[in-house]
Subunit: 703 residues, 2 copies
């Protein structure tokens, strides 16, 4: 995306409103009115073929009539005129269109949207929308939208796929006193998408945090790439996470909702912090836009009320923020600023007797202490204290330490005086919340942001030279035979070419060949029918394990053939595979899908009941780093099994992480060919003893 | 608890303030000031030995000097005078003391608290506190506390163990416009406890919902009993649910925090709805105090914005509220009140074009329809509509149906106009929320309340005549031998006396006896050492399974003796148990503890890794009804295993529920004797084939 085009879109020096109207109530009137009321300093050109003046501004019949350069054209004409006026904008040399007009893909007219984008690209223009509310920017005093006013000022920028929510959130900023610098309605994303805006906002001095409301999008890879490369915190609320909700989102935006678990994985990999609902989004955005990340884990909580202290502690556990007791020297010092019955542990309870001075001294000492990595200051309204003074004492204490790289959050539980104090704190850069759990949620976001950014460092070089060539040969052969399912032998060869440790397997076309292969492999062995027509080999009596000698091989060969012919008389039986029998180990499963939004995506879980009954599986978009592979393994609920449950030795998790990396590299390499795969089971042995892929399945994309 | 004493405490016609002060800033002054400012209509008697007038009221030197009857004495004197003034109150014939004074068990002076209660009981007085803020009641215009003002009026009553939170929440009611009729600070609960107040509030016409902030209490059974017998919804926020938080709560209140899981189970059994944090408590209280329960599951969502519709749907799933598409006739009618691109499914999306009329007609039709069991109406602020008018249209539509037994909640996302509209709705009995997920949370509380009340109906008659007598004989024998651990044989006999199906087990004191018992039992059998000195029988080589014939019995008998002597030469070996070998089945575990707050408590889970690694277990306070036993089984995360995972037939869940019932009845019966027990494993067979308790363990209380 051309950055100059985006500069014109988001920081225009001149704006034309194509479809401007002299009639109050019309969107073409509202946009002009909003530009004026917002205090926009640039030139505004209303375009309308019949009117001569709108709200005191001179009207031009067509865009061609405007003298001089126009940076941005806001288009509000009916849908049938959009193509024509876009051409005229292109001819005029405009680089950015903000298309408020609706009636495109959201009502099934994708063709009109494609036409619009084609025209725009012919002239080197970018298109925001169509079907949007517009753009709002406090720092540019620009309200180029039909939302009624610029938001309460703040340091975050919101990009939203729901225009209705933009208007509602715009109003909410004034009641919550949590603001935005910019609010951007992204609409149908025919051209400019989340990734483009994220990249541009990363360089915007007025945006410290990027806040996303997402219903669904198409190019997941581009989103991940742009987000990873951003230096600023990004927080996303993904709507449509329920089965019912995903359906509603799809019908609403016309875009694919995508599997929820895959979106969650992609946010992780993109370094994007998540919010679960609107309040959560506001609470987390406030912290991320004002405070540095929580880099280590010593969070100290200072409170004047045992009750809110306990609630904060409960919330910390719920949000995964660990709390530790402060070291003795910290406790000794803090003990000086509280009565006998206070507590200097963590939470530090100054008690209801705490006034400005105790808060000031405790906060200053604790915040400056080397042990402390972050601070949560809680206050419960009392009759004897003034919340505004407490807020000022907290701010003064923080400021005087000169420290700026440790996060601090505040919660004040009480009435209007607390609200006033909290607004003052936010204005002075300290996030403040009406409840202790909200403050803890803000701190949790700062912690997650730190951890998530660390986890995406690292490389994913798991490639073996020549792998892809071998794999494509195997695939070409299957395609040559008109197949999209590889046989187990082919799949294992393909896996092996990427360095995955598979059980040795070879095709015997006769009893004699089976005997000879069995001797080569070494007893005991497993024998399995090989037939493209028999998918469920066990059901057909086509699998026998633990065959210990030559006689067993001979009788099994005949039994399997007989069983399979009885099961399906017309099956194309190509022989019997002779396979190394892997020692017993802990069963895990690795698989992949080709997600419509994010492409090749790897899945990991424990085998058996864990995957079948508990659905305890973790996804990541391929490829993955070693760190991400380790994270996947640690995220399954049943991870304790791998740590060595019930007296067993710990399993070889290092080998497992390597396997996940290589597997992800493989499916990424083969993303244009492979639809889905699995290695199930993989048997994992104790530490240092590796693992074995026992069964393999690869389904190719239909071409 | 004497109800007249509580009447005097909570609805006094005359109040004496013992420790009244003429000095502003003193609590004894503040209470007088608050009583006057709150507009209390009864008589106020300040008691102070030196002052003559306080705030225009005549002061009496002692309580004895007051002419006529005094209902309530609020005590604010220093702790050292409390016993003396309490006696004087008793002599005066007062029935209720509200002891604001602190310095009792919360600082380690339990003795002073006991003395206070002893005095009170001698005179038939009840004591609220000590260490409290006081009591506040809007309907009585009574602010007998040092909290600065009566709360914003509402229909719920709050009882809180944290005085600091009471003061803060009092202030919050004005910013949130969510009020209370009464706020009661319960303090150290030396006498009047949650159960007493719940029972009294059940008859209070001004309380429609009882809201609890709980840190911990002692008599769990009394709480459950009182809550179960209440006709009004009760909602509880239990603080101190984290390990760290439980410690903080314990130090804060001096009462036992109790195991979090057991509190959760007890709330279920008490019919108490839970809240996870302060906001949650407010949101759920609002719905429970204004609306009837959601009795069935057809919840319809009507919205003017796809975005908030999707967020509501996501929240519904998160809170366990199912959403179904509306039937065709409902969709057909609703389609009339929306544009072409709207949706009449569920959520019903009237689109941003929806004005008062569409809201009015859709809500009226949908709410009146037989299909609909509950309604959530969402509104996202638009430039074209007036939230107050939308609110009025919704209220009018609801009212005109004449229906009052279906719940309705509203969410309005937007600015100050929305806040105003929502306040109007709340004043008119309809809970309204700033975000769709909050409205859904309110509806979820109404649904949980319905379900939880239904689940506690039913009886728990699982007793077999004579069980207790047999059990006490077995226990007496063990105690006679100075033991607190029963042998497996004793434990199984005890279980069997309560009708639990145990594997047959008998003690053989010789090889010959073992052979004869084996023949009686029938092969195959299991043999286990019997010795009070060998706890871990397998480790000692004291257990052998699947013994198939007489020769096996003989050799095993000798082997076990030899192994165990080698393991512990000094062990008192009483012989070898000969046990029926149960067929393989699905392993479950049932056990019990004697919780310090709730007493005998039963635990259920799947065996093996599920209990050991996943900690997937459910608790209930004994005894339990059949319905509760079924609920326990359904609450384990791995319940699919019992439904017949991986091609197995479904397990006999009816037999399992019976077992849990009988087990709970047993431990309740034996609550004075038994400390902890388990049946591990219990093998469960397919439906109709029952189950077997394979191993049994009973530890007696130390006496």
């Amino acid at each position: 995306m051309d950055q100059t085009a985006l500069d014109n879109l988001l920081q225009p020096k001149t704006v034309a409103v194509v479809g401007a109207s002299a009639q109050p109530g019309k969107i073409g009137y509202t946009v002009i009115e909003n530009l004026l009321e917002g205090g926009y300093n640039g030139k505004i050109y209303p375009i309308n073929p019949t009117a001569t003046e709108i709200l005191g501004l001179k009207v031009f019949p067509t865009i061609a009539d405007v003298p001089g350069k126009v940076d941005l054209a806001v288009i509000t004409v009916p849908v049938k005129f959009v193509a024509q006026v876009s051409k005229e904008c292109g001819e005029k040399g405009i680089k950015a269109l903000s298309v408020i007009t609706s009636g495109f893909s959201e009502v099934g007219r994708k063709d009109l949207e494609d036409e619009l984008v084609d025209i725009a690209h012919q002239y080197g223009m970018c298109v925001l929308g169509p079907n949007i509310v517009g753009t709002l920017s406090n720092s540019d005093k620009l309200n180029a939208s039909f939302a009624p006013f610029l938001p309460f000022p703040g340091k975050a920028t919101l990009i939203t796929q729901s225009g209705a929510l933009l208007i509602a959130m715009d109003a909410i900023t004034y009641t919550r006193k949590v603001g935005f610098d910019k609010m951007i309605s992204i609409g149908n994303m025919a051209d400019v998408d989340f990734a483009d805006l994220i990249t541009w906002l990363d360089k915007d001095d007025n945006t410290s945090c990027i806040c996303l409301y997402i219903e669904g999008f198409k190019d997941g890879r581009k989103f991940i790439e742009a987000s990873r490369n951003t230096k600023k915190p990004i927080i996303a609320l993904k709507a449509g996470v329920s089965a019912h909700g995903a359906a509603a989102a799809a019908s609403h935006t016309g875009s694919l909702a995508g599997a929820v678990k895959v979106y969650g994985a992609a946010f992780q990999q993109a370094g994007v912090v998540q919010a679960s609902d609107l309040n959560n989004l506001f609470d987390r955005t406030l912290a991320l836009s004002l405070q540095p990340p929580l880099r280590k884990e010593n969070l100290l909580v200072i409170t004047n009320g045992g009750g809110v202290g306990v609630l904060a502690t409960d919330a910390a556990e719920r949000f995964g923020v660990p709390l530790h007791f402060a070291p003795q020297d910290v406790q000794d010092e803090l003990k000086k600023h509280m009565p006998e019955f206070g507590s200097a542990k963590n939470p530090v309870d100054l008690t209801g007797m705490a006034g400005n001075d105790w808060y000031y001294k405790s906060v200053k000492f604790a915040y400056a202490h080397l042990w402390t990595d972050g601070l949560a200051v809680l206050y419960c309204e009392t009759a004897m204290t003034n919340p505004v003074e407490i807020a000022q004492a907290i701010k003064k204490a923080i400021e005087e330490t000169g420290i700026t790289d440790k996060p601090v959050v505040v919660s004040m539980v009480g009435g209007t005086r607390c609200d006033e104090a909290m607004q003052w704190l936010v204005e002075h850069g300290i996030p403040a919340y009406t409840a202790p759990d909200k403050a803890m949620n803000g701190m949790a976001a700062l912690r997650e942001y730190n951890n998530i950014r660390q986890s995406i460092n690292g490389t994913n070089e798991a490639k073996i030279p020549g792998s892809a060539k071998k794999a494509h040969e195997i695939i070409a052969k299957a395609r040559g035979e008109g197949r999209t399912a590889l046989t187990e032998i082919e799949a294992k060869k393909l896996f092996a070419s990427y360095g995955l440790p598979v059980t040795e397997i070879n095709l015997a076309k006769s009893e004699e060949e089976a005997v000879s292969l069995a001797h080569e492999t070494g007893f005991p062995i497993v024998m399995k029918v090989v037939s493209p027509d028999i998918i469920h080999k066990s059901d057909a009596g086509g699998v026998k394990v633990n065959i210990k000698d030559e006689a067993g091989v001979r009788s099994t060969y005949q039994t399997i053939l007989a069983n399979c012919k009885a099961y399906n008389a017309n099956a194309d039986i190509r022989g019997v595979a002779v396979q190394e029998m892997a020692p017993l180990g802990t069963e895990v499963i690795i698989g992949s899908i080709n997600d419509p939004t994010f492409g090749p995506t790897v899945m990991f879980g424990l085998g058996g009941i864990f995957v079948e009954v508990l659905k305890d599986v973790i996804f990541r978009v391929a490829p993955v780093t070693k760190g991400q592979a380790e994270q996947m393994i640690n995220e399954i609920r049943s991870v304790a099994i791998l740590a060595g449950a019930r007296g067993e030795a710990p399993r070889d998790r290092a080998a497992l992480a390597d396997l996940v990396c290589s597997y992800a590299a493989m499916i990424y390499d083969l993303r244009d060919e492979v639809a889905e795969t699995d290695a199930n089971p993989v048997l994992v042995y104790e530490e240092g003893k590796g693992l074995k892929v026992v069964d393999a399945r690869i389904i190719l994309k239909k071409k």
